[in-house]
Symmetry: D2
Subunit: 333 residues, 4 copies
């Protein structure tokens, strides 16, 4: 159920209403909109009398939700959401380049690459510390230590940073991380999404390997319904029968998501294809299709990378890519 | 790396070796085999000198792992694993019928259904308490309270129980649950798998919607490498282009998994097809293909079920199914 | 448009009506039903005035088709269709075993295998002569000569025979073939389907690699709308992301097709899995799921087979399979 | 087997060799290369003695084919193939825009649209006459009459034309058609491919709905091995689990095919997505990814189109697209 308050509704009365609604055994999340405050009730609301709620003087309307994307969808939120990440703006026509190694390997490595990608035009630094790995016998990241090294690189370069979280219990470690990434395998780890919804840091939500766009939006909704409106959607390739590329980069997801949702939409061509030679054409394709940003892996020495070296660009290739992206952005204006 | 100790190796010396190996920054898990104890090293082992390890007098051999399914695969473990679940045996030619409602709705409901399925021949009672739901605005289970009701039904009927876990932090709640189920969406939630590997309760691991059999076995390996050998594999349908059924029940996965692994393999046709009319033919097909058990949803009043009612069998249909299964098992002997 | 004639409508008048309808530029196919004759109009019927047609005295009703499976679907044809193939009955509770080599290699080979599979209990002999091959540089069958050898085996053993057609222009060669098979790759070769609809020989229509059940039924409809009601549907595996098996045998298609259509439904597990060890469990699963027959590859010397040897059963394995099938059929009665 | 002749080998001797090879029961296709003539033997070559063939004085080498893409692959043919279509060049860095209605509806319609797309910058006119339709009860094109109208539009505007063939028997009708299109459903209709290989008109080969890139190249090889080197590859969307778009446009196929093959590669975003709003972003993405052309559907009155109107661009939208494509092509140079 969504209860929309009248513009300028008294905050104290709103809190009392919220308490009253909670007494029905549902979770009540307050969302402060531009014009109105909105209470989102999560859980079983069938016992709540809509007429009763609408009789409160601060209430403009109360509606049972049939649209599972009431917050993430474009319908009730015509304008693009713009998210500020340490001064870098995402969404609403802004374009953001996120670059860095697949995995943080050492302080020296991450600071070195950070400086290179910054010089080449990157806006945000990426680096994996907690790495989900299919086999238990492969390198799974430096974990807490890796995040600390990434934070060093942030201090050194001034770039905002993004890294993937794998479990709620690690949330404290991400204090200085600017965007928390939820990986494809965790797109429907709802307990994790709920906890990320209870804090305010931007969340980059990657599409699951076999998730529909509708499911991706509903996962964004799980975060937003808990109170965090700062969700960024990321296409990263889906699993199909084709095995010439690791995954099939679904470029059509980009314009489709932009039409369905007001949230920023970016693409991660590195994971989608798994082959560095394809990263540049797919990045350019994503931009031409209207992506609001790309996230690519860059490594100064791909052959020695501890993880996914064959999909990493060299810093020089990345520089060329940034320059081409800028031309394509002008071409499609 | 896998370090196999000599038969009858001194336990104290083994502990010292384990400490020594841990000093390389890897996790060391002790597995007590029938003949030998085996140390499984998880993490980056490339700095460890194999010759040095083999020079310890209690060590029979030390091998770097190239096979990511060294524990879950059939190669090093020819005989079927048999898992005892509160007196019910799974694997090794035993057949187990797991039945119950999709969701625990009330104490009365779960006890009622438990008695009916037991009378009809079920071995283990299922019931969802923590429900992963695509949309945040749908009923998500009674959670802790649901588990408590399920435990009541266990006490009332003497049946072992199984329920799905969604996050590590709920583990305490599952103390009296006999099998912990990991759902399809969490098959690659590695942090959860690791925690479930650190305890000894049997884990029923469902195949992810777009996971290969190889990935399913590697997820089992994540649990086993942490020290818990009690993993049950479950085929529950994969996502394909076909939409006449909710998912495509991959029956060939059953004989294939039995050939690749020594772990018990069961099928969940209810979730695979999502249509009660198909549950009986697909259950029989699973048995004919060699499944070591089936898990089906049974509800005494499917039209009023809070969740997935259209895939539930009536208790009377379930009874017919049990009888047909028994005939098919004789036919394929 | 479907024009249903009154029972016992005068044949001469019916022919005149048919000519009249043809003058609108549509194809008119006459279907002789048990009670009524039915004219099926294929093509653009929007210029035809329904009221005018209904005013003919032999016309019971004229209906524009919104259901694209008006002939193949169960809705207007409650009873199972039974097709007689040289004395062997398919559909309506009958069970048929089709066996033989992937490819006819020589007269000696096909006659030898024919005798073996007949002795083991096969009803119909299969053998490929025109072989669709992904690569142009592989053996593509003995073509016309292969069909002639198959016909020899039919004369020698008295078994009806089935073989795959690849192009309309080969139709003459199939004069003595009892069932014409349309392979997965040609399921939507509509020109071929139309020609096969203009003759009366039974057509075994295999599901395309990525065809939905709805598309399979519409392809059957293409044949039936031209006047041939003798279509047999065959599940043979679909293409998914899983590569442990060649294709994913969609066993749920069997009960689903039986519910959607009155046509006989059989399964071809050999092509579905591509591995002989899986052929027996998948055959048994198909039978348990309600298939009205199976088609399997049998070769007396699989290692030397010119094509697909690794999916062929030995005659002795086939004999065991036939015996198990018979037990399972009793179990599910 | 591929028999490469010495440069300048005597034509008469070559013919005699060809006759000799044919006596082994294989088909021998002569390919005239830039430097050498090459004989491609299709069929079972295992009885042919390689040493004997190499002893002919005009033979440079004889090699049994292990690579099924010996003609279509990049390995033996480093330079891009350039195909001349009535003065329009395809491949080798040239860019071609193919536009027109899904279906030819009348002479007036096709000439009208032809003039509009030509004015907007199209190079080649498309128009369907033989339409493969899933249901037999939908408009299936004007067939021969439709081709004749398309030829009128060619005469009127001077544009080369392309249309889809559905069966070998229609080949005569395509005499004045410049490119013969093989649709996705016929990509593995090998008899059709072989006939198209025996003539010299360029063939545009669309990727099947569930065909791998490797299978697409092998289908091209079927055409080329019969003697026709003029094959154009076309990505048109694959079938996946996602249903927000009709198919999933696999943009990564474009750079991948260009790397694997020397043949021209184009994209058909109209069929891939089925939604006109996505046609522009996907066309631009295809160009950015390196496509050598696009084929899009344009209709002056999409709401009244007899077929697929919701994926057609208006002539004005097409004009905008052509202008943006030209900017993107400059950006990626």
């Amino acid at each position: 159920m969504v209860v929309t308050l009248k513009p300028g509704a008294d905050r104290e009365k709103a809190d009392k209403l919220s308490d009253f609604l909670s007494s029905y055994g549902v979770k009540v999340n307050m969302n402060h909109g531009e014009d109105n405050d909105v209470l989102v009730l999560v859980g079983d609301t069938h016992k709540i009398d809509i007429d009763l709620i609408e009789s409160f003087d601060i209430v403009a309307s109360a509606v049972r939700i049939s649209d599972p994307c009431v917050l993430s969808g474009r319908k009730n939120h015509k304008d693009d959401t713009i998210i500020d990440v340490g001064g870098v703006k995402m969404g609403g026509g802004n374009f953001v380049t996120i670059a860095g190694p697949c995995t943080v390997e050492s302080e020296e490595q991450i600071i070195g690459i950070a400086k290179q990608v910054k010089a080449a035009g990157a806006d945000i630094l990426r680096g994996g510390a907690y790495k989900p790995r299919t086999s238990p016998y492969t390198f799974c990241g430096l974990r807490k230590e890796g995040i600390e090294m990434l934070v060093c690189a942030k201090r050194e370069t001034g770039m905002p940073i993004i890294s993937e979280i794998m479990d709620i219990s690690h949330l404290d470690v991400f204090e200085d991380v600017d965007i928390i990434q939820v990986g494809a395998r965790n797109m429907q780890n709802f307990e994790l999404l709920h906890e990320l919804g209870k804090q305010k840091k931007p969340v980059l939500l990657k599409r699951g390997l076999s998730s529909t766009l509708s499911e991706l939006l509903m996962s964004a909704e799980h975060i937003m319904a808990e109170g965090n409106p700062n969700v960024i959607l990321c296409e990263r390739g889906i699993r199909t029968f084709e095995n010439a590329t690791r995954n099939t980069c679904d470029i059509s997801a980009i314009p489709m998501l932009r039409s369905l949702s007001h949230l920023p939409v970016i693409a991660d061509p590195s994971h989608a294809c798994g082959i560095s030679d394809l990263v540049i054409p797919l990045s350019l394709a994503s931009v031409a299709a209207g992506a609001g940003g790309i996230m690519v892996e860059v490594h100064s020495n791909p052959e020695c990378a501890l993880c996914d070296g064959n999909q990493a660009l060299l810093p020089s290739q990345f520089k060329t890519l940034v320059s081409k992206i800028s031309k394509i952005r002008k071409a499609i204006e």
